[in-house]
């Protein structure tokens, strides 16, 4: 076991999968010689050569489209989109193509690609280096969408994504890259996609979250435990497919549910989680299903003052949890 940051976990998963299977390769802007602008692919160029750590021209649609074609010919491409905000030029290739290839070919062809992208704000990235884009993809059958929140999960889920026979969007919250360290096994392991996990066991309220926001929830839960409020915290980890069973079990456990995410609220991830509960566990509820999410503005501004105003914080989260507990 070694203690690793999230970014190292990502790097190691890539390195180990490339070692394990020579069909695996990474492609994207600055992923080769430079080792990635966040340094996730550092050293891969030196170890695996120019083609398996492939510097790609500044063309996101082609990055994904070329990955799809390489996968059709038997490779396992891991594409990097430099910032999640810049995935939008590739949406046609992701939704019209990758998501539908197995279905439209009646299972003859498939699209075993991974698309990694750093998302989320709080790093002074302004409107276009801070966005959460997961909700643009979670509605789409044929895709899987994952958002691990810890180094252990990041490594295990990236490996699972690379080995998955279908297209996976793998979103890495930028604030997590160097936020915390944890023990990550040296031996090979995977964390299965589609499974949520309980991060804290509690009795009074259920809080459902993922990504960086989860850590705010956990901090807030610590705070509240000193006030005598016991929180049950579920980390979704995968946003498509959702782990319906885990969500319903967690909701029923306390009868009071709060969903927390950084992305804006309306038609966001929390909507489906809430709707699922309202559909299948309504009579287990003791309070309205609450959502705490980013504001309904186009994106996170650059000015520190505005950025702070936009973001969730331990305080804001604790306040929402407290209200729910007191309901």
């Amino acid at each position: 076991m070694a203690v690793k940051q999230y970014i190292d976990a990502i790097h190691d998963a890539l390195y180990e999968e490339m070692q394990r299977d020579e069909r695996v390769f990474v492609l994207g802007e600055d992923v080769g010689v430079r080792g990635g602008v966040f340094r996730a692919t550092v050293g891969l160029y030196e170890t695996f050569g120019e083609y398996r750590a492939l510097d790609f021209p500044l063309t996101e649609s082609a990055i994904v489209g070329v990955a799809i074609g390489a996968a059709a010919a038997g490779m396992i491409p891991v594409a990097e989109i430099q910032f999640a905000d810049f995935i939008l030029p590739a949406v046609n290739q992701i939704i019209s193509e990758a998501a539908k290839i197995r279905y439209r070919s009646n299972n003859e062809w498939s699209s075993p690609i991974v698309i990694r992208a750093p998302y989320g704000g709080g790093i002074h990235g302004g409107l276009y280096h801070s966005q959460s884009v997961e909700a643009l993809f979670t509605h789409v059958p044929g895709l899987k969408v994952v958002t691990p929140s810890t180094p252990y999960d990041a490594k295990g889920m990236l490996k699972a994504s690379i080995r998955d026979p279908d297209p996976v969007l793998f979103f890495e919250h930028k604030k997590l890259y160097r936020l915390l360290k944890e023990e990550v096994p040296d031996e090979d392991y995977v964390v299965p996609l589609g499974k949520a996990t309980i991060r804290m066991d509690g009795e009074d309220i259920t809080v459902i979250s993922y990504g960086y926001a989860l850590h705010l929830v956990l901090e807030a839960a610590q705070l509240l435990s000193q006030e005598g409020i016991s929180s049950h915290v579920l980390d979704l980890r995968t946003l498509r497919p959702l782990d319906n069973e885990a969500i319903l079990t967690a909701a029923k456990k306390t009868g009071k549910v709060l969903i927390v995410h950084e992305d804006n609220k309306v038609h966001g991830i929390g909507a489906e989680v809430s709707a699922l509960i309202a559909e299948q566990a309504l009579f287990d509820l003791d309070a309205p299903i609450a959502r705490l999410a980013g504001p309904e503005v186009p994106a996170m501004p650059f000015s520190s003052v505005l950025e702070r105003e936009y973001q969730l914080s331990v305080d804001k989260v604790a306040q929402a949890m407290r209200s729910l507990a007191q309901f």
């Binding site: 082609a62 799809i68 074609g69 038997g74 070919s105 299972n107 003859e108 044929g142 279908d166």
Partner: protein, 335 residues
């Protein structure tokens, strides 16, 4: 005979050019049958290859079926027939039957795909297949495999960003891919001069650092020559080529279109005089490989084949409604 034995000069046997012609006629006749079925209300949709058979026949002959990776577009009926599809497979597709190889009835006719023939599955949004072809070419280069990627598309589609981005990357990495633009002068109602301002689509190749060749798409031998050159070059590791075959779409865009609203009958009639089928027949006749008797017997045979295929397809089973939810993701046992 000098001028007349063009195909020999190109290294093609008499049988090969006659086969080529056979496929062109088969494609035309299957296509016409599809219109008949549509107009009699039996099928929902037709999109035609008519006017592009010569271009496709020339290209098809330059490829190695089953080795090369093919990324066709919806007009490539003649090309598909040359690569291994049949009147039967495509009529099954016209009826959306379970058995059709492209998609098991899931997609509209003309949305080709066949894994065993290395024909990748296509969609409707135009141009998306171009980066796919480049991706397969990248895989060939990475693994030192000998296949070539071949991708076709219309001149209207050459304006899409995906064409540009894919061609650029192929040029940078000198990948084994042939870009085949079938310029039929229209993108639905929009004539080429309102789609693009360059003289030839092929002129765009210079912007990607590789060769562009514009060729008369009604001359199958000329197209063969250009595509063969491109394929050989790609296989030899010398990078991509953009081949533009200039042709004309002889029928409306699809069964939902009415081309009288945007082009004159005179223009269409004039193009019909330059039909590649006529040209090829004349060529074969002049080279004494062909005569009216052979023509008649060919058409009779093909008609029988198509009739049989139609009957078969009409009676074939539809997909099982319960299969609707299958193959969204891999199922246990798939890879």
């Amino acid at each position: 005979m000098g001028e007349l034995s063009r195909h020999r000069v190109l290294g093609l046997s008499d049988q090969q050019v006659m086969d080529m012609y056979r496929f062109m006629v088969l494609a035309r006749m299957v296509d016409e049958r599809m219109w008949l079925l549509n107009r009699s209300g039996k099928t929902h949709f037709v999109i035609s290859c008519q006017g592009q058979e010569g271009a496709q026949a020339g290209a098809g002959l330059a490829l190695q079926p089953g080795l090369d990776f093919i990324f066709p577009y919806y007009r490539d009926l003649c090309l598909m027939l040359m690569l291994g599809h049949t009147a039967k497979t495509e009529l099954l597709s016209a009826f959306g039957r379970a058995e059709e190889p492209n998609s098991g009835g899931r997609q509209m006719p003309g949305h080709y795909g066949d894994r065993k023939l290395r024909i990748f599955t296509g969609s409707s949004p135009v141009g998306t297949q171009i980066p796919h072809a480049v991706g397969a070419a990248l895989a060939a280069k990475m693994r030192h495999e000998s296949y070539v990627s071949f991708v076709s598309f219309g001149e209207g589609t050459s304006n899409q960003g995906d064409f540009h981005e894919a061609a650029n990357f192929a040029g940078v990495r000198k990948l084994p891919v042939v870009f085949f633009c079938e310029n039929n002068q229209y993108a639905i109602s929009i004539p080429a001069r309102k789609e693009l301002a360059c003289e030839n689509v092929a002129d765009r190749a210079v912007g990607y650092g590789f060769e562009g060749i514009a060729v008369d798409g009604t001359d199958p031998l000329a197209v063969y020559e250009a595509v063969k050159h491109a394929v050989d070059k790609a296989r030899a590791g010398e990078g991509p080529t953009l081949v533009e075959a200039k042709a004309y779409r002889l029928v409306p865009h699809s069964s939902d279109d009415d081309d009288r609203t945007y082009r004159s009958r005179e223009e269409v009639e004039a193009a019909k005089q330059r039909d590649s089928l006529i040209r090829m027949k004349n060529y074969l006749t002049e080279t004494e490989l062909w005569d009216n008797e052979k023509e008649e017997s060919l058409r009779k045979d093909l008609l029988a084949e198509i009739n049989e295929a139609t009957t078969y397809a009409e009676q074939a089973a539809n997909p099982d409604p319960a299969s609707l939810s299958r193959y969204v993701y891999a199922e246990a046992g798939d890879q």
